[in-house]
């Protein structure tokens, strides 16, 4: 499928989703939908570095929260429209991703992953100690009730996140099919052989880390407006870290569809579980599903489908 056709199709689907939800006159759909889309962006972002390149980032929460806190910091100084905040959040998280990558990507993947774990703790510590953004007490963000043209504020936020999700998926797909995507895959398959084949592995890994971090920051930027309040506990919530890893692994890590499937599936299940059971139990479910899939179906749902198709064509 040509790229611009893909874009048109996704925009069309997005429009259907948005206007469909409006038609149903249920604001809760927008609240829940926002979270699912947020996870879609996070899962797609994670997958650029984790699935395509094979480098596991445990610090999703750090990049995400940096985007959220950039919004808070700027809001206190000079309130800006959300799209601008998204861009700025993306820049901040992207730069942090680049910096951290530069320090750790020369080494084995395991060290990079450990460093991301530690990074999450450190960024949380730094922000908890930064009183300008509220420190451990948190910060309040006042949001307008209505937005012209669109309707209620939550619908506006939903639309923003929907747009971001479309952009993220489109970008992931474009990367995957480009020379860059081949380079990423070669790094994932065999970094030594990739270097010997002329692939500038460090440079590509830095690109992946920066892009991944940037999208995570962009996903986090609207968060203070979604909730109206932001504190380290909610910004650095472990749910972000585990979901951004579980969703691509469940859906399938080698292609852009995997995170989408994983996010839609797991995200929806969690939204339902939070309402019907409890939010702690739903996190437990995600953890168990992650471990189960990693052991039993390492290539995710996409992998299972591919195996089924291949078996059929080999016959």
């Amino acid at each position: 499928m040509r790229s611009w056709i893909f874009l048109l199709v996704t925009v069309a689907i997005g429009a259907v989703v948005f206007f469909g939800a409006r038609y149903l006159h249920n604001d809760y759909l927008f609240f829940a939908g926002y979270v699912v889309l947020e996870y879609l962006v996070l899962a797609t972002a994670w997958n650029i570095l984790g699935g395509y390149c094979g480098y596991v980032n445990f610090g999703t929460a750090a990049f995400f929260a940096l985007g959220a806190y950039t919004s808070v910091a700027i809001h206190k100084f000079w309130p800006m429209p959300i799209p601008v905040l998204i861009l700025l959040g993306g820049v901040v998280s992207g730069v942090v991703g680049l910096g951290m990558g530069y320090l750790t990507l020369r080494l084995r993947g395991a060290f990079f992953s450990i460093a991301t774990l530690a990074l999450a703790v450190v960024v949380q510590t730094l922000i908890t100690n930064w009183d300008y953004v509220g420190g451990s007490r948190g910060a309040y963000v006042v949001r307008p009730a209505m937005v012209p043209l669109v309707g209620s504020y939550i619908q506006y936020l939903f639309l923003v996140m929907l747009t971001l999700a479309i952009i993220a998926v489109f970008a992931a797909r474009m990367i995957e099919r480009s020379w860059l995507g081949y380079g990423f895959a070669s790094i994932r398959d065999d970094e030594l052989a990739a270097e010997a084949s002329g692939v500038p592995t460090l440079r590509l890994k830095l690109v992946a880390t920066t892009l991944s971090g940037a999208f995570m920051g962009m996903a986090g930027a609207p968060l203070p407006y979604y909730v109206g309040y932001l504190d380290p506990a909610s910004g650095f919530n472990l749910a972000y870290a585990v979901n951004s890893i579980a969703m691509p692994l469940v859906g399938g890590t080698t292609t852009w569809i995997g995170p989408v499937i994983g996010a839609l599936l797991l995200g929806t299940v969690q939204q339902v579980a939070t309402v019907t059971i409890s939010s702690a139990v739903n996190l437990l479910i995600v953890g168990v599903v992650l471990v189960a899939f990693v052991i039993i179906a390492p290539n995710g749902i996409v992998g299972l489908v591919e195996t089924r198709l291949r078996a059929r064509s080999d016959r």
């Binding site: 596991v56 750790t104 993947g109 395991a110 450190v122 692994l249 471990v291 990693v294 052991i295």
Partner: protein, 291 residues
């Protein structure tokens, strides 16, 4: 100028005691990651598990927590062996340990933490023991017993481990397994079984470290996360698999953290471990061949 020498010395002493404890916490990672090359980021979860078990037994039966952990040692050893068996069958054998193995351990870490939250809630738990209150005093130097006893037992444990690894057949086989599997097979030792024993020992140390933890400080499920950065920082700094190196590195980290906490406030402590970790990683020789 009145430089607070007494404060500094006390900070250093406290740091050394803390370092002894950190050594016990890291011992398992030194074995699992340093020697076996298994990135078990769930290790802190096993430690917290040990803490909670010590808490339950201590609260219900009044038994000393460190004693409880010694009794729990065999159970944790078996648990470690089981976890390794799954890890080996699912990942190591298929050569997929990087992405999937990491995700596996992360999943375990997560499930443990959330499970503990569901069962015990997020309140801090603590144990009662005769040595938790008192403090020894030598002129101006404070030696809280709740830090001193775990530190002493920890160093004893490290010494025993080192003896085991260097003097027994299985211990030496463990040291060798990371370097030359073929030679091991020729010596009629099964590398998989050796690794299972080693990983079992690794998780066994977590039981003991867990008891130390809850003696030193109150525990709640998310406490484990702070330790991930610490244990890997110490493991890398200590030379990846050298137990004496681990002890030294742990003491160093303990002292630096203690001084930072004393003069700049305790909320900066996690950042210290990360800083040291980054520094150590940055100074390692570059290259894809890593170690």
């Amino acid at each position: 100028m009145d430089f607070p020498v007494e404060l500094l010395i006390n900070a250093i002493v406290a740091g050394l005691l803390l370092g002894g404890f950190y050594a016990a916490v890291t011992a398992g990672i030194s074995i699992a990651f340093g020697i076996l090359d298994i990135v078990n980021i769930a290790h802190p979860a096993f430690i917290i598990l040990g803490s909670y078990i010590a808490y339950i037994v201590n609260t219900n039966f009044g038994i000393d927590p460190i004693f409880v952990s010694l009794i729990m040692l065999p159970a944790f050893y078996v648990l470690g062996g089981a976890v390794y068996q799954v890890y080996y069958a699912s990942f190591e054998r298929r050569g997929q340990e990087s992405l999937r193995g990491l995700a596996f351990f992360f999943g375990l870490l997560f499930i443990t933490e959330v499970g503990l939250v569901l069962v015990f809630g997020v309140d801090y738990r603590y144990v009662e023991a005769s040595y938790i209150g008192p403090t020894l005093r030598f002129s101006f130097i404070d030696l809280p017993l709740r830090m001193l006893i775990p530190c002493a037992v920890s160093l004893l444990m490290m010494a025993c481990l080192q003896l085991y690894l260097t003097r027994t057949f299985i211990g030496r086989a463990i040291m060798a397994v990371s370097q030359d599997q073929l030679a091991l097979r020729l010596m009629a030792a099964d590398p998989v079984r050796i690794k299972r024993v080693a990983f079992g020992i690794s998780i066994g140390t977590a039981a003991i470290a867990g008891a130390f933890l809850i003696v030193i400080q109150p525990v709640e499920p998310s406490v484990g996360r702070e330790y991930i950065g610490r244990v890997f920082a110490i493991c890398v700094l200590g030379g990846m698999g050298s137990l004496p190196g681990t002890v030294l590195a742990a003491m160093l980290l303990g002292v630096v953290e203690s001084i930072t906490a004393t003069f700049y406030g305790p909320s900066w402590a996690p950042a210290v471990a990360f800083g040291i970790l980054l520094l150590t990683l940055a100074l390692r020789p570059a290259g894809i061949l890593g170690r």
